[in-house]
């Protein structure tokens, strides 16, 4: 089985804060991987590192056979729907069009193929009717569909999604779930973060986090009672190891 990413002694964080203690893991290519763990366990931080959005504090991370920075143009990252710029008059279509920026660059004109790609992904995510609406006029579910459309508009071999199914309405959850499975069926690698054990069980591969990678492997190997107890009851361990987490809302 080919590998999408491998971490060896990988330590991650922001400025002086460590979010993920040195960890070893690997993520397969062409499969659906779920990164699961409690709030502040380092899920989003690991996703950012896989997308080349932050540099490791220590250890080694290989993505698509090279550095995460070199692989960045082949990876599409989808934000959480809770994050959106208030007061910025951006229409849904403009947001999806941004997915073409990596290929058109700072100044390049949008070609007919670019516009066609934007139309098709908006159709797939059922946001065509919302094209002229502003982000702040959308529900969380609609906004998440727009963000996934933006991710699909980008040329990619890997799709990284930050909690794409959390708290969505039924239509949005089903639409995005279909997209995730379509992507893996067409041979692309999909990695998403989640809080939901059912979503993790439905994946091909699971990375269990709690301030470090607790376990990485098939759902049956990783989602064991002992592993979950370690991951979700680690208040003492966090205090004794002095780990600093990346989420002030963490409930140990």
């Amino acid at each position: 089985m080919s590998t999408f990413a491998t971490g060896r002694g990988l330590q991650l964080g922001y400025e002086r804060v460590t979010a993920v203690a040195p960890s070893d893991f690997s993520i397969p290519a062409g499969k659906l991987t779920a990164i699961i763990g409690p709030n502040g366990s380092g899920k989003s931080t690991l996703l950012h590192a896989l997308g080349g959005l932050i540099e490791p504090q220590g250890g080694h991370l290989e993505v698509l056979g090279g550095s995460p920075e070199a692989a960045k143009s082949r990876v599409s990252y989808v934000m959480q729907s809770v994050a959106f710029p208030e007061g910025v008059p951006l229409s849904v279509r403009e947001v999806v069009k941004m997915g073409r920026y990596p290929s058109s660059g700072w100044f390049g004109r949008f070609s007919a193929a670019d516009r066609d790609r934007v139309d098709r992904v908006m159709d797939r995510l059922r946001v065509t009717d919302l094209a002229r609406r502003h982000l702040e006029e959308l529900s969380g579910g609609q906004r998440q569909r727009v963000y996934v459309a933006q991710g699909l508009a980008q040329d990619h071999e890997v799709l990284l999604l930050d909690e794409p199914l959390t708290g969505l309405d039924i239509v949005s959850a089903r639409t995005i779930d279909e997209i995730i499975h379509d992507e893996t069926e067409s041979g692309r690698t999909v990695v998403h973060t989640t809080h939901d054990l059912d979503e993790a069980n439905a994946a091909d591969h699971v990375v269990l986090m709690s301030g470090r990678v607790v376990a990485s492997g098939s759902p049956a190997e990783v989602l064991t009672e002992s592993n979950l107890r370690v991951a979700y009851n680690l208040g003492e361990l966090h205090e004794s190891t002095g780990l600093i987490v990346d989420d002030p809302h963490r409930a140990c």
Binding site: H48, G51, G52, L53, K72, S73, V75, S76, Y77, M79, A83, P85, G87, V88, P89, L90, S91, E94, V95, M98, G99, Y101, P102, G105, W106, F107, H134, S139, G141, Q154, L165, G167, L168, D169, I170, A173, R174
Partner: protein, 288 residues
């Protein structure tokens, strides 16, 4: 009525004030859109005051004020970054410290001048009616840099305003874009202070974009409206200052702020009226 409108612009110095003000307004209002969209208004305010020591030094030691302002702007940005990196303090604290520090330093330097009050007033509030053709030519070059820069950086600035993380993921180099935005803001401040003064240039940087944001459905529309509001504010401000005998730069600066307050209140009343007329929407069904 026509006389009332034309009279303030009949003389040469009045026409130069109008042209200088229009250039300052259009460039400030254009780059100011990104300042407002990025939520950097406080930084902009501090930045505008931060150039004071450079201009003051130029007045006292007799060198080009544009050079002085550019050096002071670079020192200000460097010092904010230094405090942010070396302490756990939030960036706004660093900006606040530098805001006061640079302004105080400017006043200390200018107090060595023989005409302390006159020089300080001229730097802070500008000398719209004393703008020369040479100054207008310099302004026009800087305005071209700012407007072309804002257009060239449209996509990176849009991505940065959307989300710095997503901008990084899209390869739009958000850190470089942010640095270039600071250069554009500095250029705009340097190109405007002679016409409207360092203190009042802030009004043209923030008020027209903020007013445009209230009524715009897209960013290109916001840029066009912001530049138009800035330009109209200069014309109205100069007319009012002529007829009322008030300070030209201060009157120009007040017009877009009054426009903002009027439009904001009109929109609030319209929303309130609409809410009373609309039915309550159904709740969204959430997946288990």
């Amino acid at each position: 009525m026509i006389d009332w409108l034309v009279e303030p612009f009949l003389l040469g110095f009045q026409q130069r004030a109008l042209i200088g003000g229009l250039i300052a307004a259009v460039m400030s209002a254009t780059v100011g859109v990104w300042l407002v969209l990025r939520g950097m208004s406080f930084f902009g305010d501090a930045f505008v005051h931060g150039v004071l020591p450079g201009i003051a030094a130029a007045v006292v030691f007799n060198f080009n004020p544009i050079l002085g302002a550019a050096v002071a702007a670079a020192v200000m940005v460097g010092a904010v970054e230094l405090i942010h990196r070396h302490t756990k303090l939030r960036e706004d604290t660093a900006i606040g410290l530098l805001f006061v520090g640079m302004m105080a330093l400017g006043v200390v330097i200018i107090s060595r001048s023989s005409s302390f009050t006159g020089s300080l007033t001229s730097i802070l509030f500008g000398d719209a009616l004393g703008v020369s053709w040479d100054a207008i030519r310099q302004q026009a070059i800087l305005a071209a840099v700012v407007i072309i820069g804002s257009l060239v950086l449209y996509r990176p600035l849009l991505a940065l305003s959307f989300s710095p993380v997503k901008a990084e993921a899209l390869g739009m180099r958000p850190k470089l874009t942010h640095a270039l935005l600071l250069v554009l803001i500095a250029t705009s401040v340097i190109g405007s202070f002679q016409a409207v003064g360092t203190m009042l240039v802030f009004s043209l940087l923030v008020a027209p974009p903020a007013t445009a944001a209230l009524i715009s459905r897209s960013i290109p529309m916001m840029i066009a409206l912001s530049a138009s509001i800035g330009a109209v504010s200069v014309v109205i401000g100069l007319m009012l200052s002529y007829h009322w005998g008030t300070a030209a730069a201060a009157t120009m600066a007040l017009v877009p702020i009054v426009a903002f307050l009027v439009i904001m209140e009109a929109q609030y009343l319209r929303r309130r009226f609409r809410r009373q007329a609309e039915p309550v929407p159904a709740q969204e069904v959430t997946a288990a």
